[in-house]
Each structure stands twice: as structure tokens, then as C-alpha cells.
Amino acid sequence: MAEAVLDSAVHAADDDHGHSTGTGISNNKLAMWVFLGSECLLFGGLISTYLLYRHNIQDGPGPSEEFFDIPFTSASSFVLLMSSLTMVLAHYAAERGDNRKLKIWLLTTALLGSVFVAGQIYEFTVFVEEGLGWSTSPFSSAFYALTGFHGVHVTIGIIMLLSTFISAVRGRMHPGNAETVEIVGLYWHFVDIVWVFIFTVIYLAA
């Protein structure tokens, strides 16, 4: 009985994720990890650029405790951290075939991500009003490039979450393809990890 159940689950997984591999490692998951490895390089380059140009402020405002709104950004960081929790709970629910919880957690994660992006847009608006434009100084260009790229990544993550949510609503999610939720989760947690770094390096160490 258990073998039959396992077989059906394996076939379901194979149907959704291509074929079993010789290494026993899922191709999709491996591809996501390779992608995340390459993303480290992208953000490594952007963070390096920021660190090199952060003191080159010319006539514009520079990175300081007075300029950055630390309590506001801390709240944003907290929201993003919380979204990582709801994401992992969505994966947990997906593996157990709990479609109701899966939908709740996926939607909550997308909403928390949206709150973060909204906060970032608000923060950018305030900075522009205070005289920090995109081309004000090498510091401002590096700052907007780094935090803007991160914001774009969060937005792409929200789109991935919503498309997974729609699949769940249509009843296409089952324990056999819980890996789909895990892969979306890997991307989401990576975006969170990058923010952990950005928050410390740009805001707290300012």
C-alpha cells in the first residue's frame, strides 16, 4: 500500500517536473540554486560599487543616521523577515497537501512583499524631495541601483507568489508538486537574505 502511494506521488512529481535524474537531484531545484549563485555575483557587484562610492556625495546629501529613516527601514526589514516565515509555512502546508493554508500563506507573503515595495517607493520619494536624485552623485546612483534592483527582485517574487497562488486556487497544487512552492520560496528567501546584508551595510553602518 505504502509503495503504491509512493509510486503515485513519484509519478505526480515526474509529471510536473520532467524526469527523474541520475544524481537524484531535482533539475528545477538545481537550476534555481545555480541561478541564486549567479545572483550573488550581481548583488556582489552592486554592493561593491556602493561601498566604493558611498563617500563620493559631491553637493548632495550623503549616507548618515540623520538622512536615513532607520525606524522606518527597520519596520520594512521586519515585514520582509515576516514574509520569509509565511513563505516557509506555505511550503510546509504544500508538502502536507493543506491547500487552504497554502493559499493563505502564499497570499500573506505576497501582501507583506507588497508592503515592503510600497515602503521602498515611499522612501525613494522622500529622498528625491530631500535632493537625492538618481544622478546627484556617484553615491546616489549606486544607492538607487542597489536598492532599486532589490526592489525589482521583490516585485518579481510577488508575481511568482501570485501565480503560484492562482495555481493553488485552481486546485493544481498537491504534495507531488510541492517543489514548485519550495523553488519560489528559495528565491523569496534569497531576496530576504540580500536585504539582511543591504540593511546592515547601507543603513545601520551609515
Binding site: 505504502a2 502511494v5 509512493l6 503515485s8 506521488a9 513519484v10 505526480a12 517536473h17 527523474s20 535524474t21 544524481t23 537524484g24 537531484i25 531535482s26 531545484k29 538545481l30 540554486w33 541564486l36 549563485g37 549567479s38 545572483e39 550573488c40 555575483l41 556582489g44 557587484g45 554592493i47 561593491s48 560599487t49 561601498l51 566604493l52 525606524p71 527597520s74 521586519f78 523577515l81 515576516m82 520569509s84 516565515l85 513563505m87 516557509v88 510546509y92 508538502e95 502536507r96 497537501g97 504534495p175 507531488g176 510541492a178 519550495e182 520560496g185 528559495l186 528567501h189 530576504d192 537574505i193 539582511v196 546584508f197 540593511f199 546592515t200 551595510v201 543603513y203 545601520l204 553602518a205
Partner: protein, 114 residues
């Protein structure tokens, strides 16, 4: 409860993947506990940023950042429990990113100031 759910809950590997049961039996409460630790560290980081103790300010800040980084990668991304090759790709990316930073520093002739 569906048949597939039963198979997953036994903790057996499906399609070469690990289930949560194989991830060290982390429960929903376990994830909440990790989140609480992350939230506390973030709060300490923010409070710490207002106390600029010059000699140890940056090292302590970066230590807390690394702990948070590790907790998310190891527990939420399951790197601690998953196949080592995934961690290999991730660490390679991080090391290369560090290399990029060193190259940037060299290109900007930062070393001359030391």
C-alpha cells in the same frame, strides 16, 4: 487526507527531493521560533546602531548580520538539511562576489591607502 499526503508524511524521498520530515523534523512552531530569534537580532541590531562604540561597532553589527544570514539560509532555505551540492553553488557565488569586491578595491587602488 489524500494518498500523496500520507506518502509525504512518512518522510520518504519523492522524486529525489527531501520533504520537511527529512529537514530535521522542523515543525511550524520551529519556524516561528527561528523567526522570533531573527526578529530579536534585528531589534538588537537597530538599538546597537544608536550606540556608536567605535572599536567594536562594525564587527558586532556584521556578526549579527552573519547570524541572520546563516539562519535564513540554513533553516528557511533548508541548506542545512539539503544536498550539499546546493550549498556548494551558493557558497561559490558568495566567494566570487567577495572576489568581485576585492577586484573593485584593487581597480580603485584602495590598497595604496593602507
Amino acid at each position: 487526507m489524500s494518498n500523496e499526503t500520507t506518502a509525504v508524511e512518512t518522510g520518504e524521498t519523492i522524486g529525489g527531493r527531501k520533504t520537511h520530515d527529512e529537514h530535521g523534523h522542523i515543525t511550524e512552531f520551529g519556524y516561528v521560533r527561528i523567526f522570533i530569534i531573527l526578529a530579536i537580532i534585528t531589534a538588537v541590531e537597530v538599538v546597537w546602531s544608536y550606540y556608536n562604540i567605535e572599536a567594536i561597532f562594525i564587527p558586532v553589527l556584521f556578526l549579527m548580520m552573519i547570524v541572520k544570514f546563516w539562519l535564513v539560509a540554513a533553516e528557511f532555505m533548508h541548506l542545512k538539511y539539503d544536498v550539499k551540492v546546493f550549498a556548494g553553488f551558493f557558497v561559490t557565488g558568495l566567494v566570487l562576489a567577495g572576489g568581485v569586491y576585492l577586484i573593485f578595491l584593487s581597480a580603485s587602488q584602495i590598497w595604496q591607502s593602507f
